[in-house]
């Protein structure tokens, strides 16, 4: 499946994926600089998540030449390396999702604290 004939679609899609996450890293970083929010609750997890996503996207893009090279009749160890790399990247993908959820929950807790510290809910905001 991985070494099939749809490489072009795969390349395009994975480039999109990689670009999306490069964009997210830049967006998060620029937002932190612009708003001086490096102390933003959960911001560190957000950056961790963005970095892991970027690693997955980049790793998959970099696997494509390996996948194209490792067509039928290539060395078995090349395919083994490719398959094992994909397994690792899938695990990283789960980790990036978990980090994103962690960032979200941390931000929610901080927002709750802020709203609670306003006393009655009608004040401020």
């Amino acid at each position: 499946m991985f070494f099939g004939g749809a490489e072009l679609l795969f390349v395009g899609f994975m480039l999109l994926y990689g670009l999306n996450w490069i964009g997210l890293v830049l967006f998060t970083g620029a937002m932190g600089l612009r708003r001086r929010r490096w102390g933003t609750p959960g911001g560190g997890w957000m950056l961790v998540s963005a970095a892991l996503y970027g690693a997955v996207g980049l790793g998959l893009v970099m696997l494509i030449p390996l996948g194209v090279i490792a067509g039928p009749g290539n060395a078995a160890w090349v395919e083994s390396v490719a398959l094992a790399s994909v397994v690792v990247l899938i695990a990283v993908w789960v980790g990036s999702n978990a980090a994103l959820a962690k960032a979200l929950f941390t931000a929610w807790r901080a927002a709750d604290e802020a709203v609670k510290s306003q006393g009655s809910p009608g004040v401020g905001a």
Binding site: M1, F13, L16, Y17, N20, L24, F27, T28, M31, R36, R37, G39, T40, P41, G42, G43, M46, S49, Y53, A76, W77, E79, S80, L83, A84, V86, V87, I90, A91, W93, V94, N97, A98, L100, A101, A103, L104, F105, A107, W108, A110, A111, D112, E113, A114, V115, S117, Q118, P121, G122, V123, G124, A125
Partner: protein
């Protein structure tokens, strides 16, 4: 060796898909709970309680994440079944379900990031500066100087001493005739 790795790939894809689905299912229900528990009399539209802000965006993003995870997990499982010699016969149109993966890859983290940024905006309006404890917990030593200013919150504190000389908030916010006498 290769067979073992291929099988490991299918299993890990299955487990990862369902794991991601569980993560976003939890996030979805937490976001729904935020909206629901504070939606009636304490709604942000009525009373100014902004804690629910962004929860709807997170719900949409988490739903996309659940769809992505379930489709990934099911496709991994299908591959396992086919690999084991099972006879799977699917309609052509069923392939459209796989669109949930690219859509989820973009929409889920995008919307969740958006919702998180909204929560950050809520968290930064902390009028009695309770979040000074958060700065202290983060190990900042610069917070003591800035805490107490009306226009800053504790999250700004480490940066405020540097920024203060270049940052004229009062003159921008008040009409020119209403300046404080002391300034």
């Amino acid at each position: 060796m290769n067979e073992a790795f291929a099988k490991l790939l299918m299993w890990s894809f299955t487990a990862a898909g369902y794991g991601v689905a569980v993560i976003w299912l939890i996030a979805f229900f937490r976001a729904a709970g935020r909206r629901d528990s504070q939606s009636v009399e304490a709604s942000g539209f009525v009373s100014g309680n902004r804690a629910v802000d962004g929860a709807g965006r997170v719900m949409l993003g988490a739903a996309a994440g659940v769809a992505m995870g379930v489709v990934a997990g099911c496709s991994g499982m299908l591959t396992l079944i086919i690999n084991a010699g099972g006879d799977v016969d699917m309609p052509e149109l069923f392939g459209l379900a796989f669109l949930a993966i690219p859509v989820g890859l973009i929409a889920c983290p995008g919307l969740v990031l958006w919702g998180t940024v909204v929560s950050w905006r809520v968290a930064e309006r902390d009028p009695d500066l309770d979040a000074a404890a958060m700065v202290a917990a983060a190990g900042s030593t610069a917070g003591a100087n800035a805490v107490g200013g009306e226009q800053t919150d504790a999250l700004d504190a480490p940066f405020d001493p540097l920024d203060a000389p270049f940052d004229p908030p009062t003159s921008l916010q008040k009409p020119s005739g209403e300046r404080d006498a002391g300034r």
